[in-house]
């Protein structure tokens, strides 16, 4: 139920002033468990889709069941090979990526990844991405047959594919259509993952909720690009790519803030979260949980440090439960 024992191994921010302060406070326990539309998580820190594979890759470093939940790499109906390299390009405090949804397909996932994942002792959220509404429906339906899957995250925001993906997430009507299809295909909680590449994120969030989304995830990557000055050509084959990492955090935070004011469903905040301080900001802005993405690449222990930092922050503030701070900056 809590992970206070894990703190010993990591000394992330021992010297941080706000934590030193905590030693003099009375509280020594804070409840950081959360329940997001029926997904019971022992802490609010998830691994973001596409940055954690199917959970196996980081299992050599720590027990992944210490996380609140894991979101799978984006799945499509059929297996996909992804985009030709280069797929990664470093930018100041960020990364551009153009992976292109390389994945084993829903059936491949069920056959090769799920048997192991379902025993990991942690809520698993399947991220799905369709070319059309019917894809979303069929994937949601098929995945609902799995015993123990915690939720479906409908990715209507991938910027790196030919069809579907972000195109769904850029208009309220198409967002509604995609989420509606997922909703019709499953009784599991449905999370809509939104794209930041829109004029008004609130309209998209509202459409997703109207279509039956139980929660909102945001943000996916911001569309960007890079040019090779020697070849005088774009770095990426698809010209545009998705920007993630600490560079996008202020944008993500603003969007969580906006969506919190627009809809009533829980928000899973993500976009450049690399420290517990970042996570606290997102929660104060209205996120009930957070997902760590790019930061995993820089410091694989980042999610664990965030969990322990969050807890220490609450204790230091004399706050007994995480719920008390969600959206409290408004």
């Amino acid at each position: 139920m809590d992970d206070r024992f894990f703190e010993r191994e990591y000394n992330p921010y021992e010297s941080d002033a706000s934590l030193m302060e905590s030693k003099s406070r009375h509280a020594d326990f804070a409840d950081i468990s959360v329940n997001i539309c029926g997904i019971a998580m022992k802490n609010p820190v998830m691994a973001a889709s596409g940055t954690f594979g199917f959970g196996e890759e980081y299992a050599g470093l720590y027990d992944i069941s210490r996380l609140g939940a894991v979101v799978t790499k984006g799945l499509t109906l059929e297996r996909r090979c992804g985009n030709p390299p280069p797929r990664i390009y470093e930018t100041p405090a960020g990364i551009l990526n153009s992976i292109g949804l390389e994945n084993p397909g829903v059936e491949g996932f069920i056959r090769w990844e799920w048997p192991r994942l379902c025993r990991s002792g942690i809520p698993v959220i399947a991220n799905i991405d369709g070319d059309n509404a019917n894809d979303y429906y069929r994937m949601a339906r098929r995945l609902s047959e799995l015993d123990g899957l915690a939720a479906i995250e409908a990715n209507i925001s991938c910027p790196n594919v030919e069809k579907g993906g972000m195109a769904f997430g850029q208009h309220p009507e198409s967002a509604y259509e995609a989420i509606k299809a997922v909703r019709e295909g499953t009784n599991l909680p449905v999370i809509a993952k939104l794209s930041p590449n829109v004029t008004d994120i609130r309209q998209i969030a509202e459409a997703a909720v109207n279509a039956g989304a139980d929660a909102i995830s945001l943000i996916n990557t911001l569309q960007g690009m890079a040019i090779d000055i020697h070849k005088k050509k774009p770095v990426f084959h698809r010209t545009f790519a998705g920007l993630s990492g600490p560079a996008v955090k202020p944008v993500a935070l603003r969007m969580v803030w906006e969506v919190f004011e627009a809809v009533r469903v829980p928000i899973i905040g993500m976009g450049g979260i690399a420290s517990w301080q970042d996570a606290v900001e997102f929660m104060l802005a209205g996120a009930s949980a957070v997902a760590v993405g790019t930061a995993n690449f820089i410091d694989p222990f980042a999610p664990l440090k965030i969990i322990s930092g969050l807890k220490k922050y609450l204790i230091g503030q004399g706050i007994r439960a995480l719920n008390e701070i969600i959206g409290s900056a408004h």
């Binding site: 940055t51 890759e57 470093e90 100041p92 820089i298």
Partner: protein, 295 residues
Amino acid sequence: MSLFCGSVKIIDNVEIAPGIFRMGLECPEAAESASPGQFLQIRCFEGLAPLLRRPISIAAADKDSGMIEIIYRVVGEGTGILARKTKKDMLDIMGPLGKGFPVPRGLRRPVIVGGGIGVAPLLFLAKSLKENSSRDSYGRESDFCGLAFVGFSSGEEVFGMQFLEDCCFNVEICTDDGSEGHKGFPTDLLEEYLKHIMPIPASNRENAKSAGDSECTSASSAILPEAVYACGPEPLLKKVKQIASMTKIPTYISVEQRMACGVGACLGCAVKSSGGGYLRACRDGPVFEAHQLIL
């Protein structure tokens, strides 16, 4: 768990050729399990820019002393910061990562082909090949004598040659400008050597494999190389792969690709697979059998 991630002490960081540094690290965990061809993901900077870790191959690992060594070239911001680190500084590393070179017991004539900074992992490999050669699979003492064809842009860039010789490798150096050794590429030397040792007409090349298997000697009555190992720039690997396809000698190449996570999670470091789709340089490689990839 054999994967280490954490802060380790820098023992030394020395410029061994212009822009090329050798860094010693104290990391018993990584030294214990490291094999040639594997790499470390190194966080050069504690802040957020440059953000990503840098994959750098392991040039030496010693279980007894717990030391691990990397040799790297300064190519940009990250490695620039790395070059300015000094003795006793701490460094955040993750590793050993990836699939390395196979090092079977009892090889007698392995051939390594390296270009520039690609020579670094081959030093570790050469040592392991030598150590594993002392007895063959029947327990006989072997007459180990490896061959190393290495290329650099110029003579002043050359490093590691004494080390290779100490590992019982005959070393032939090439430079792009001819300032040391042969003028040209190490793959030219590889090709020449193979032509000399296995003078088989193109039409009979299928037979080369069986000749190798039975350890029959060719016209030159020399022992045929049992394996070819290569690391270097892409044109070098392409050429090695092309040569490999003609000789049937097992050939292993170590590739480089832009990388983010280093553990196989992000799918950023894709390399084209000859079986369709992509493989991950970080987890399925960086060492592949030459025929596995489309270069």
